[in-house]
């Protein structure tokens, strides 16, 4: 069993890139990731490409553009977890000793749909009833406000923090700070969630070079060890589900901490799935960053920002950096790589040694979510 490292990483600035194809989005990220690892396209031994809406052979359409071929290329869809699922598959192959250098790509282009909510699979019974992703999160928010000592302002503060972080990230789609009032007064999307509490429609791509112990020695570039890589699917129920206790995320985190040998108290950086404001609060608890029931207080006390217990979403998160769904898991890994190698510029989390990334997604009837991925990282 080899240890697994990230030895190069890059992404494109997220935004509405209507004139770029899937390969047009991903090729600059791939080339810059290769460059940061100090390797050529021909050095790559396998490719895994995560996406949700790229269509057939997305990975091959990308890597052939830089001359990568005659090696295994796999495409993985796991909704929002597609990119992180690509990391997982690359991780497993390197850990098993199958390859020394694997390119993992995450990419998606949401402007192809023209705007509005993410298209879901029409054959699903809840989709037939009109479910959309913001409605799922809105019902979580409603229940959170009902059960907890929390207010709409607490929800809005998640966006305020995300935008404050994103303002210092050149790769973020939104780089302007906002106030609680602006967030609450933006137009309603699904009550109680307003526009600024929802991640934007956008396009993006990210790439990382994952290597074995031998690959790392050969490259000699700054590296981050991937200490755990966990993927779970949702467990169906036709009955009661506690919408504030997403077992898919808490179980994934539990397994990841166990595999890594360190826990939530050891983390300096967390990139978690804040697709909507409520998500961040719920996931503080699911990932064990704070005790159950204490997430609003955790945010209010500044424990999830610079100077606090752990910096959650220094990139600006999905709310500010953007969420081209299949790209996000890899983009999180890129952000973590930059922090753990001291390359994050003015948003650098000082002395960051350990990090977690978390993406969960997919709206399917009977599940909390379809897929969840948790990765843990350690400075190497």
């Amino acid at each position: 069993m080899s240890k697994v490292y990230i030895a190069g990483a890059a992404m494109i600035p997220m935004g509405k890139h209507r004139h770029a194809s899937y390969s047009g989005l991903a090729v600059p990220a791939v080339l810059n990731a290769l460059k940061s690892a100090g390797i050529a396209p021909k050095d790559v031994q396998a490719v895994v490409c995560g996406h949700a809406f790229g269509g057939m052979l997305t990975g091959q359409r990308i890597v052939k553009e830089v001359g990568i071929g005659s090696i295994p290329v796999f495409n993985v869809d796991n909704a929002c977890s597609g990119g992180a699922s690509a990391l997982h598959l690359a991780f497993k192959d390197i850990e098993a000793g199958k390859h020394d250098i694997v390119l993992a790509i995450g990419v998606d282009k949401l402007t192809q749909f023209g705007g509005g909510t993410l298209p879901l699979v029409a054959e699903d019974p809840e989709v037939k009833q009109g479910i959309v992703m913001p409605a799922v999160y809105a019902m979580r928010a409603r229940r959170y406000l009902h059960e907890r000592d929390a207010t709409l302002e607490d929800l809005a503060q998640v966006s305020v923090k995300a935008r404050r972080h994103g303002a210092r990230n050149p790769y973020a789609q939104f780089r302007g700070e906002v106030t609680v009032d602006e967030v609450l007064q933006s137009r309603p999307i699904c009550d109680p969630l307003t526009l600024m509490q929802c991640c934007p429609t956008g396009d993006g791509a990210a790439a990382v070079i994952m290597v074995s112990e031998a690959g790392r020695r050969k490259l000699g570039t700054p590296a981050v060890r991937v200490a755990a890589s966990v993927v779970h699917s949702g467990q169906v129920t036709a009955g009661f589900r506690d919408m504030l206790n997403p077992e898919i995320s808490s179980d994934s985190a539990r397994d990841a901490y166990e595999a890594a040998g360190f826990g939530p108290q050891d983390l300096d950086v967390v990139e978690l799935h804040d697709a909507f404001t409520i998500a961040e609060l719920v996931y503080y608890e699911a990932l064990g960053l704070c005790p159950r029931g204490e997430s609003a207080g955790f945010l209010r006390a500044g424990k999830s920002t610079y100077g606090g217990q752990v910096v959650v979403n220094p990139s600006g998160g999905l709310l500010s950096k953007g969420h081209p769904v299949g790209a996000s898991g890899v983009a999180q890994a890129v952000e973590v790589y930059w922090h753990l190698t001291g390359q994050a510029g003015e948003r650098q989390v000082p002395g960051a040694k350990r990090a977690l990334s978390h993406v969960t997604g997919g709206g399917i009837a009977g599940l909390d979510h379809g897929a969840c991925t948790v990765h843990l990282y350690e400075a190497a």
């Binding site: 890059a10 992404m11 810059n32 001359g67 930059w338």
Partner: protein
Amino acid sequence: MQQAAQATGGAAYADDALPIEDLKEEQGLPFEVKDGMVYLRGSRSRSSGSMAFPEREVCLETGARDMEPFLFGPNATLYSFSTVHVSSSRPVPYTLGYVDFPNGVRVLAHVVAEPSQPLRCDQPVQLRAEGDRWFVVPTQS
């Protein structure tokens, strides 16, 4: 662009981090007519010399972003061909063929020929254009 970085990394990015706008409306026609002859606009890598059609930004052999425009044609060889009678992309029938140029570039082209002139593999063809449209015709049988 908001950043004017020297190099792309975690702190900032340079132009090489921006997406390639390959879906932008065509800037011009993919061919040029000179002295009555039709030439295709391709790209050639400054470092590796690799050539490709249509125009592109990245070298297909090395990933280098140093492609320069160049013209090639008008003569080529018909490698293979088919007349399409059922298509989801355009009205039928039409004839497509892969044509090989002496510089090694292969291009998928529309082939226009008289029904009385059956096509054959390895037949010499030449580029032609009508308005915005380019295609090849057999030059001898």
